[in-house]
């Protein structure tokens, strides 16, 4: 089954100083409050984070729900904003491969894939033996996912005490945290080029297609950075 030593090691990695715990908590407190404000009940808010666990997707869901969008439109909107999870999975799960580990662990634990857990794993995977990386990952994922769920519940409960200004303040925490973390992970020219080009091209493509801008901007920036890397590499 799951090696408890490596699981706990992953679980406790959210306690470090560069942990995403604070940023995650702030964002999901805001989501919890938002869901209450748009008419979700306690259980619905809880299960929204429990089953979706992807901040931008839940924001799209909330906005679409408010304007009464059809289910198919919600599906497309959420898929578009969360499609980043596919390249994130492809650039991480090969690092966790082990013949000694069962497949179900990979398909279950991919639910924990989010920017926060992904960045921790990409930073720390070398320190863990190949055969136990999936257990370490399940530890990180369980910890970040639990923080998100607890914060959603907290946000739901305290939503009456959160002023509009505080909600706006909470909303900036996530992009600031992840932008700093991305800047911190620019260890070589290829990743650096990916981050800088993505930062520029995302908003540029927004002017052409607001819905597709993340995919268009991200994929084109990634391909350019990759080509730069292959020619220099």
């Amino acid at each position: 089954m799951v090696s408890s030593g490596y699981f706990l090691k992953g679980f406790s990695s959210v306690r470090s100083t560069d942990s995403p715990a604070i940023a995650l908590a702030c964002s999901f407190v805001a989501i919890g409050a938002l869901l209450k404000n748009i008419g979700f009940n306690f259980q619905q808010s809880f299960f929204s984070t429990f089953f979706t666990y992807a901040l931008p997707g839940q924001l799209v869901m909330a906005e679409s729900f408010l304007v009464g969008a059809s289910l198919i439109n919600i599906f497309i909107g959420v898929w578009l904003v969360n499609a980043r999870l596919l390249p994130m999975a492809v650039s991480m799960f090969p690092l966790l491969k082990s013949r000694k580990q069962p497949k179900w662990k990979y398909y279950l634990s991919c639910h924990f894939l989010a920017v926060s857990s992904w960045l921790i794993m990409k930073k720390d995977y070398r320190t863990i033996h190949e055969d136990f990386r999936i257990d370490f990952w399940m530890g990180i994922g369980t910890a970040t996912w639990s923080i998100a769920i607890i914060s959603t519940v907290l946000g739901f409960v305290i939503s009456d005490y959160l002023s509009k200004d505080m909600m706006i303040g909470l909303a900036i925490v996530n992009p600031v945290y992840f932008f700093c973390m991305l800047l911190g992970s620019m260890k070589n020219i290829v990743i650096g080029a990916s981050v800088i080009l993505g930062t520029i091209l995302g908003p540029v493509f927004y002017l052409i297609s607001p819905e597709w801008c993340i995919l268009y901007g991200g994929v084109s920036a990634g391909i350019i950075a990759f080509i730069v890397g292959e020619f220099n590499g």
């Binding site: 303040g169 930062t199 607001p210 920036a221």
Partner: protein, 110 residues
């Protein structure tokens, strides 16, 4: 009310399926991908650039509450916090905590 409630459950289900789909397809396709391959490096670039694109889109063209803060305020807070990130030796706690406090305070003042 019953109608609205079952509608919310459908909305949650659709959102969750749309999200899990990308995670699932990612794991499925990574079964055949080696970490030393060219395709792995390509997806690594795309993962980082897509994240960067998402974050900068959220700051410049936000959805939800963030939209109500002026763009110069949002960009100002991001620059200040990135500055503090490097100032405090890449400690992530300061920029994270500062960002919410600075933005909330500035909105109240202005």
């Amino acid at each position: 009310m019953a109608d609205l409630s079952s509608n919310i459950i459908l909305v949650i289900a659709v959102t969750s399926i749309a999200t899990y789909l990308s995670r699932f397809l990612g794991v499925l396709s990574s079964e055949r991908i080696d970490e030393n391959s060219r395709i792995f490096r390509l997806f690594d670039c795309i993962a980082y650039s897509t994240l960067a694109a998402l974050i900068s889109k959220v700051v410049i063209f936000p959805a939800g509450d963030l939209n109500e803060a002026d763009i110069f305020l949002r960009l100002g807070v991001v620059f200040l916090c990135v500055g503090s990130f490097y100032l405090f030796n890449k400690n992530l706690v300061y920029p994270t905590v500062l960002s919410a406090i600075i933005l909330t305070t500035l909105i109240k003042i202005i």
